[in-house]
Point group: C2
Amino acid sequence: KGTFDQISPSEFFYRNRDLAGFSNPTRSLYTAVREFVENALDACDQQGILPDVHLSIKAVDPEKPDPKPYILSVKDNGPGIESKHVPLAFGTVLYGSKFGLKQARGMFGLGATMAILYGQITTNKPVFVKSSTDGKIQDEFELILDIQKNKPIVLKHETQDTSKTGLSISICLEGDYAKAGAKIRDYVYQTSLITPYATVTFDDPKGEKFRYTKIVRSMPPAPTIISPHPYGVDVETIKRMIGDSKFSIPTVDNNTIEKVKTELGLRKKDLNYTEIMERAKRRWSSLSRNIRVVIAVMSFLKMDFAKLSKIRIDDIDVSRKKLTYWDFGESKSFTIDMDPETDYYKQLTNTVQGETLVSFLTKRFQRVGRTTAEKFADFAGFKPEKRIGTMTNEELVKLSDSLQKFPTFLSPDPSCLAPLGAEPLEKGMKAFFNPDFISVIQRGASAYSGFPFVVEMGIAYGGDIPPGGTKVYRFANRIPLLYDEGSDVVLKVVEEIDWSRYKVKGDPPLVIVSHICSTRIPYKTVGKENVADRPEIERELRLALQFLSRKLASYMSKRGLAEMEKKR
Amino acid sequence: KGTFDQISPSEFFYRNRDLAGFSNPTRSLYTAVREFVENALDACDQQGILPDVHLSIKAVDPEKPDPKPYILSVKDNGPGIESKHVPLAFGTVLYGSKFGLKQARGMFGLGATMAILYGQITTNKPVFVKSSTDGKIQDEFELILDIQKNKPIVLKHETQDTSKTGLSISICLEGDYAKAGAKIRDYVYQTSLITPYATVTFDDPKGEKFRYTKIVRSMPPAPTIISPHPYGVDVETIKRMIGDSKFSIPTVDNNTIEKVKTELGLRKKDLNYTEIMERAKRRWSSLSRNIRVVIAVMSFLKMDFAKLSKIRIDDIDVSRKKLTYWDFGESKSFTIDMDPETDYYKQLTNTVQGETLVSFLTKRFQRVGRTTAEKFADFAGFKPEKRIGTMTNEELVKLSDSLQKFPTFLSPDPSCLAPLGAEPLEKGMKAFFNPDFISVIQRGASAYSGFPFVVEMGIAYGGDIPPGGTKVYRFANRIPLLYDEGSDVVLKVVEEIDWSRYKVKGDPPLVIVSHICSTRIPYKTVGKENVADRPEIERELRLALQFLSRKLASYMSKRGLAEMEKKR
Ligand SMILES: Nc1ncnc2c1ncn2[C@@H]1O[C@H](COP(=O)(O)OP(=O)(O)OP(=O)(O)O)[C@@H](O)[C@H]1O
Ligand SMILES: Nc1ncnc2c1ncn2[C@@H]1O[C@H](COP(=O)(O)OP(=O)(O)OP(=O)(O)O)[C@@H](O)[C@H]1O
Ligand SMILES: [Mg+2]
Ligand SMILES: [Mg+2]
């Protein structure tokens, strides 16, 4: 009979590390480089710091043949990580700061930890992390992972003086630079293409130094976090949003009374009921939600603190407007009526039953105004003032389904996205390919499943581009994707093109650069190497490519005419 | 500044459910069917029960258009699950019984839970599980998932009388049978092809009933669990194996003394030292390891229990043969010599320093005999009697690297695998395709990264096979793989074949069936739809296909000659 076990997420990814891109020394060296460089760029992007990222790979014993141990170090000038978060950030899988709905390279909370894990299981060496968040003190850690328990073990923690913020991380891992070198150099080269505001330097094991200095001096705006869009929800998400927005009635005990006094700024106990309520009214906007609920209850009980401490609230029946409490002094239960016209009644209603559907929609979702919310309520068959805390399970499913089917929600707000921009993309492609012809487009924002995305694409021909057929450079959220192009949506779209229709023959010196930005890239694997063919994304890529191909076609025909001219 | 969060594995797979095959209602309905059917077949295989699996998919409201809620139920005659394990097995991600090194369809501990999760987030309905392990009492559960905490919530648990063992599971989920139906029917059809000893029945939403009765009456042997092979280890695995095989010195306190007495079967305290040691000697083979260590310590101390309870063991220096203890009565430390000739000395040495390298290798790995272990020790530069508990970190890395490089370990033991067999495969293909020509091969066992695997392949031509080009049926551990064939190693191998070399022209009525069995299939995704192109697997597939293609070629030429005969 089978014996049951539970394994931790780090244990799961240890056993199935090919899922995360750590299948062999060649691929693992590449993936580890990616994970650290992408973390450095994410950190700088978030804080509006022009990135300066230094990558170094050195063989421990250069004489030995590959695969062999390498020391991989990445250093950045970013905001660093606070000392208390460092061990968990790097020692725990599914721990990170990028779980919100925001455009970033990272999204899983496991990339760096997996690289450290791979280093540890192949060379048994710890990871060294240096981090400074204030530019004065640098925390230096030596950590290893407890893979079975998914937690870090801090071997050393010291502090040093420093003069800059930033993070540096260094691991020793078994790699194969002979096989991985070309891809790693490509990755660095392409990273600087798509991040023209970053300076990236790379010292490789052979002693070669690669330096890609920034060619753009201004930061693009940092990506911002956004509320969910109705098209992206399911019942679980709805339930959590409702759960966040309603509270249970707090117990009115001495603890609570102390909190009320603190928030009202009262030191002495001797304010009477009227004075308490007046002070609460003046300070209303600064009171926390729980305290407002207590004040609301007090408004109906008409009691001061002394009396309040002698009762227990038993029931608040909002629909029948009755409040029932047990009086310890009198040892009996009382029920009083609540005046539904008061703001205090509204406060209690919101608390017990949650906000109205219209208020919930306009506050919790992006781009839903009052009119849209009311039209939606009508479409879904709910009263606009329906209290979301009173929805049955069936009603929650109806709400979730209707949110996805209502046709007139505005498309998701793309202002949270940070695409590269047509101009920097063109500048970067010119610098890298020095082409005879270039054309670039940034499509308008679109969305899939409630996630906004933007497609940017560039096509370049001739110049320094070697002939030999179309070369496709794929990027997603400013990450170069170098593996698994066979199952990527961009290649699917490119291979549909019949180039002869666009006057391009044979094996042309042609480059296509494609960049997709989104609050959530639909990667097919945890290793983030290829993008799934969501119909909306495929469509946008196709429209972009057709636009650029027509531009190329008119260049090719002008060029064809010019050559015929020359021959005469 | 980013705020850090930890998410649970169920939260991770909720947010990234496309990684597990739950990307949309069409794919999710298919994946949910797979997960439940594969669990049922695994359970029957493990216990040698001829499987009888019933699948039913019914629309909740047949009038509505797709996608819409369906009730998916799967029932089997397997061994069931013990009541105490049911909530966790289905309510927790990364919880299961298939984490050991054994051929099985399941391997991640999350398939069923993901299907239940998808049902819950699309219809808010609980899962119903009925399980009987003894054929008398059936436990019936109604569960929902706490996705954020990765644990089940039991809504109901009742018991009923029953007359059979087995498990049935039923969820309500949003699916699209209009789009998924063809693939689901394919899946059921192909499952019965590769599992000819199983009866599979399927009631579909349109009221159609599909019945695939078993065509083979005997069970293949159940797969067995095996020890790891040296080629599959890394430092983490080595450290855990060593950790399992050595113990720290147990504290000799009253608790320990009570345990010793219990294991020696002593009720009274009044046996003297000699009598204790004699009794221990007689019962040695039944004593637990910790107790043997205490007895060993006592043999050097020459104390009975009363004296023993007054001391504390401070140090056991095996290499210098000295035992140091603190006497509470005398308030001072004593050091005594240990006689290295005694078995008791060996016991302590094993405990403190672990077993010898040779003993470790022969016991903990498969197919390593004493001679091989000694040759390996020489190759790796260790003394054969080196105590594995005394290895430094560098030595552990050297051991791990050498284990992977030593060229003369026997290839992994394939007797733990349960391939279908050439004859049942041929029988199944004949029944399904009724071909004019068929040839089948089961390759000898091979291995990749220490995991044994076997390739079985069949080729069929003509008969009831419709013309239109080669159709490839892929299987892994008796699971039909119906998606993502573009990035599967089998298609890569098939597409290299130039069929004209084998006298096959045009779009032939040709079928290729490929089956890979292993203790670990290198899937590319958590959704288990395609297999990675590990070189050893690719090679085996290629050799199998070349062998079968030559058989087909000689049939085609005979057939060609026969037709030319006819024409004359
Ligand atoms: N160079 C860095 N500077 C600042 N913060 C960093 C740096 N590297 C990592 N971090 C922090 O550590 C966290 C964990 O990093 P990790 O790479 O494991 O996960 P992630 O980047 O969130 O997601 P992914 O798995 O997709 O990479 C990040 O979320 C980030 O907050
Ligand atoms: N029909 C069944 N009969 C007996 N045991 C079952 C059945 N279905 C599930 N189980 C048990 O529940 C566990 C969890 O199932 P689950 O599908 O989530 O994971 P798994 O099968 O181990 O791995 P995978 O994620 O690869 O499917 C299994 O390991 C098995 O022990
Ligand atoms: Mg990261
Ligand atoms: Mg399973």
